[in-house]
Symmetry: C2
Subunit: 196 residues, 2 copies
Amino acid sequence: MPKARLTPASVTEAGAELVDEVGFDNLSMGLLAERLGVKTPSLYKHVASQAELAHRIAVLAMTEAGDAIRDAIQGRSGSDALAAGAQAMRTYVREHPGRYAAANATRPTGPDDPFIPASERVMASWAAMLSGYDLDPGQKIHAMRTLRSVLHGFATLETAGGFQIDASVDDSFTWLVNFIDQGLRAGPASGSDAAR
Amino acid sequence: MPKARLTPASVTEAGAELVDEVGFDNLSMGLLAERLGVKTPSLYKHVASQAELAHRIAVLAMTEAGDAIRDAIQGRSGSDALAAGAQAMRTYVREHPGRYAAANATRPTGPDDPFIPASERVMASWAAMLSGYDLDPGQKIHAMRTLRSVLHGFATLETAGGFQIDASVDDSFTWLVNFIDQGLRAGPASGSDAAR
DNA sequence: AGCTAAAGGCTAACCGCATTAGCCACAGCT
DNA sequence: AGCTGTGGCTAATGCGGTTAGCCTTTAGCT
């Protein structure tokens, strides 16, 4: 009964939807096959292995997240760009926790891995956003890493249920973004005495 | 040939050492058994399952990390306490990436899970450290979450190899800690216009 | 000092899940 | 109509976690 008409892309997309529902650790070929109305071994006609599937999902996630962040920053600058970009990233991770987990579990497989340009596009958006602040060129890399650390850390802690319910997580995120904004505005001074 | 003399604690400790070497994803009962000079099924006389083993490792990790942070903060305050505590946490994660991953993969199993007091002790250290800054009481929770986010995010990105080699990761961490310190010193002002 | 029972090791077996091998039907081209 | 490649399927393999049941050593008791 040839009916399913699967392709590597459609399998990846279905895998991405599934992984957001069941979590990265619970992703299995059997579950995905069932979802697609097909027997497990049939999937291997479209993806080489579960590892490759996870990698494809990771690339998809990076691409989608990169687009979301770029679009959010588009047309804004400074504090507005930071707030919009940070919110876009947080929203993406909340809506696609499985894909984000897949992206975090992935390491580039080689120099021509499409995961590399996908993540570079994310980096480029953050860099563009940071250029709206008056930072010393030598500090830009540190600011970038700090920014990535907070956003990544917040997003993973949030999806892992790491925050108790005492206070609004939304408020905390707003506070966090504002905190970063203020620090970046304080600019060069914040790093000049780094050797304190 | 009864020779091994294993206990739940010794199995957990060996598991912790192993997981730091091979990574959380590659932890297996077979590997641990081999390490202990025993056949796989024998481990089940000491731990109920691999999940329980991982959970015990997680509790151990939280306890050790909590101790390290408390000791680092001990006798210091303000910026010094922040720098020492942050460095202690980063060092712990770098030296024990597998245990830290185990801790992150763990959710409390119930109200009397020893994982809960263990993580509360970590929180208490951070809270004590933050009390060295002049923060509005209502903002303390946000500052805490922001602090946890950066430190957790930096540590996980670092161990995952998420930072390229262009610039020193040590320098970035120093910059990050300094950035947070400056922001916390700026104090109440940094949150007062959170609704911007 | 010998007896007994629990502790803790072992082998054999089970099960789920990823993966592979080999088969077969249908679609499109000639 | 026949040929061939695509994409499905069933059957089988192998690994890793887990369970069942056996057997020896050892601690404790009398």
